[in-house]
């Protein structure tokens, strides 16, 4: 039995759930950020799976989806750079990366 589209989507969904669990249940801001990256990559996996399973004209993979993945990876790289710079600035100001100690914006 070769892997089907729903196998790939299931793996991608479980990866997304792991990332979401990290964001919801961890308290280290760096690990929360890593969970975000996992969620982005899960979305990438489902896009590439759809591109391979829905062929475009000439029996080629739908390259539009792979181009989207290219854009997502670029935006994610920029996002990581800015996010880590913010975390470093936060650490300089507060000396902690624990989100329960970062409650200055809390109402």
């Amino acid at each position: 039995m070769v892997p089907t589209l729903s196998n790939y989507l299931l793996v991608s969904g479980v990866l997304f759930t792991i990332g979401l669990g990290g964001v919801l249940l961890r308290r280290n801001i760096l690990v929360i950020f890593m969970g975000l990256e996992l969620m982005l990559n899960a979305a990438n996996l489902s896009l590439v799976a759809f591109s391979r399973f829905n062929l475009s004209v000439g029996d080629l993979p739908a390259y539009n989806a792979q181009t989207f993945v290219f854009f997502i990876i670029t935006v994610a790289a920029a996002e990581v750079a800015v996010g880590l710079a913010i975390i470093v600035a936060l650490f300089r100001a507060k000396q902690t990366v624990h989100v329960e100690d970062l409650d200055a914006l809390k109402f």
């Binding site: 589209l5 989507l9 669990g21 890593m34 996992l38 990438n44 792979q66």
Partner: protein, 167 residues
């Protein structure tokens, strides 16, 4: 063969993903995440997306995770002190995750179109980079240029953010 590779890579990827999110030391998390991304690149290759697989390794496992490791070492983070999450946050988080997985399973089981096997390609996509590049420069030329501006803004923003004092 294909099936075995798919399940091996998926199980390894989910295992390392779980380790990345739920192990104590930040360095352990980052290293597990690197392995997770490498397995994900392998999954992209099983889907005949060679270009995406390679930039996944170059950009994610290479650049992004090195940045993470640099920051972890720069901040000199120790292992987290064990702090108990309150029961309500565990319950809330678990509820959201179980609900999400349940909906996912329902959707995947409901649609028979999702259980199709891989359709055969006309030819093995050896000129993968060329095909992605053609789509990128023909159909998505303007977004491509906008993304260049985004990268420039991100670079300038990071330099500004990491100054000692923001005036």
């Amino acid at each position: 063969m294909q099936t075995a590779i798919f399940w091996l890579l998926s199980v390894l990827m989910l295992l390392f993903g779980g380790l990345a999110v739920f192990s104590r030391g930040p360095v352990n998390c980052a290293m597990s995440l690197v392995f997770c991304f490498v397995c994900l690149a392998g999954l992209f290759v099983t889907l005949d997306a060679f270009f995406i697989g390679i930039i996944q390794i170059l950009v994610y496992a290479g650049a992004v995770m090195v940045l993470f490791l640099f920051i972890i070492m720069l901040l000199d983070l120790k292992n987290e002190r064990v702090r108990r999450l309150s029961l309500s946050s565990w319950a809330g988080g678990g509820l959201v995750l179980c609900g999400f997985l349940g909906i996912l399973g329902k959707v995947l089981a409901a649609d028979p179109r999702l259980s199709m096997a891989k359709p055969a390609l006309a030819s093995p996509p050896v000129d993968d980079v060329m095909a992605v590049g053609a789509v990128l420069f023909r159909n998505f030329n303007l977004p491509f240029q906008i993304i260049a501006v985004l990268l420039l803004v991100a670079t300038v923003g990071v330099v500004l953010l990491s100054r000692k004092e923001i005036k």
